[in-house]
Symmetry: C2
Subunit: 219 residues, 2 copies
Amino acid sequence: MTSLAEENYLKAIYKLHEKTGTTVSTSSLADSLSVSAASITDFVKKIALKKLITYEKSKGVKLTEKGRQIAINIIRKHRLWEVWLVTKLDFKWDEVHEIAEQLEHVVSDELIEQLDKHLGFPKTDPHGDLIPDAKGQFAKSNSKPLLNCNAGYKGKLIGVAEHSNSFLQYLTKSNLKLGDEIAVIAIEAYDYSFEVKINNKDRKLLSKEVVKNLLVAEI
Amino acid sequence: MTSLAEENYLKAIYKLHEKTGTTVSTSSLADSLSVSAASITDFVKKIALKKLITYEKSKGVKLTEKGRQIAINIIRKHRLWEVWLVTKLDFKWDEVHEIAEQLEHVVSDELIEQLDKHLGFPKTDPHGDLIPDAKGQFAKSNSKPLLNCNAGYKGKLIGVAEHSNSFLQYLTKSNLKLGDEIAVIAIEAYDYSFEVKINNKDRKLLSKEVVKNLLVAEI
DNA sequence: ATAGTTATTTAGGCTTACCTAATTATATTT
DNA sequence: AAATATAATTAGGTAAGCCTAAATAACTAT
């Protein structure tokens, strides 16, 4: 029904739209799928005919409700598989993405529902991202980047806004993990680096680049 | 490195060779892959160039050692996934084949080794088939079809030689499962039907077609 | 508003894995 | 051994998903 390529295009469009809030350009898609812009134009025309997206020449694309549902389902599967890899197979949070990219395309609704049950119906994946339910609904999240918090703020690390291996490995090396309590002691006005206290113990200095990608919420 | 199609061709060749003991014909491959004979000839030439099989015009194909290792690895993955589906996700033995057909193509050696560990290094899959180890070695099996046994024989059901849903469902309905003790009470000379006793309790009549596909071993 | 730059699309091609129809081998009967 | 049937191969073609190079459209800056 939906080919591997289609699933990846829809997922990429969904993620780019989520990030930018606008229609998704040919070049941004080309970038994130590592495919030439010409191929994007071709493909995008084809899936527009299938009503998975709307496409206006030179004005980018947008998911239709149908396309959005497919994209969200792929994301649901991806995140459930990541939970499985970490909780049942002992993988680290920086080792699961590539494997989940393959597993997300396995087609079987019963499989995913059983997996969900096996995992205890998790609400978030190992990076703190929300897992949509079988109907494609996301729970509400009240997380915000630590960057948006003031000195004196105290909250819990509940997710990351950047999933690169290097960032995840940096956090691991720095002994920072989801669930940790973070208190902002001071913010350096010059470079926006944050002095923080982790779990009421360790003092740490975090660069602007880092605090931008740490998502926190009230305890 | 190895495409989905290649993996499926190699697996099909392996299984047909296992069944017949001879070189594998174009038409048998066409049958089992549901692809035209012409396409088989094409493809077979291509993977012969890659030294995955040997091919002699009009004389069928044979796996090379390299091709055999790839085929066995796919089978290893397939069977491990089947164990997972049954033991961890509560699927029935007649529900796992199609899902495992997809999962077997996921590429990650670490994944498979972790899965193997998670499952406790199982030796057989839910149908009693041996699971080769990471090096492609199969354990020795001393199973034989119940059909080859005489009246008075007593053994344990350890596998099935036929994996169709209808056969598996027949066994389930008949309350026959792996591990059951089977004693041969009598064999009807006319139609080769077997009168048996299961777990020292239930008497059952099994047709020749059925006993041919039940694999038993000494207790 | 025009020139220059960047983004997008069009045109023409390629590879993979399939197909049908026609041809040639191989097996089976008589 | 010839005739017939079956199996395998060749020839020519298709769809999906990509490519490069050239053309056009859309922005940016002066």
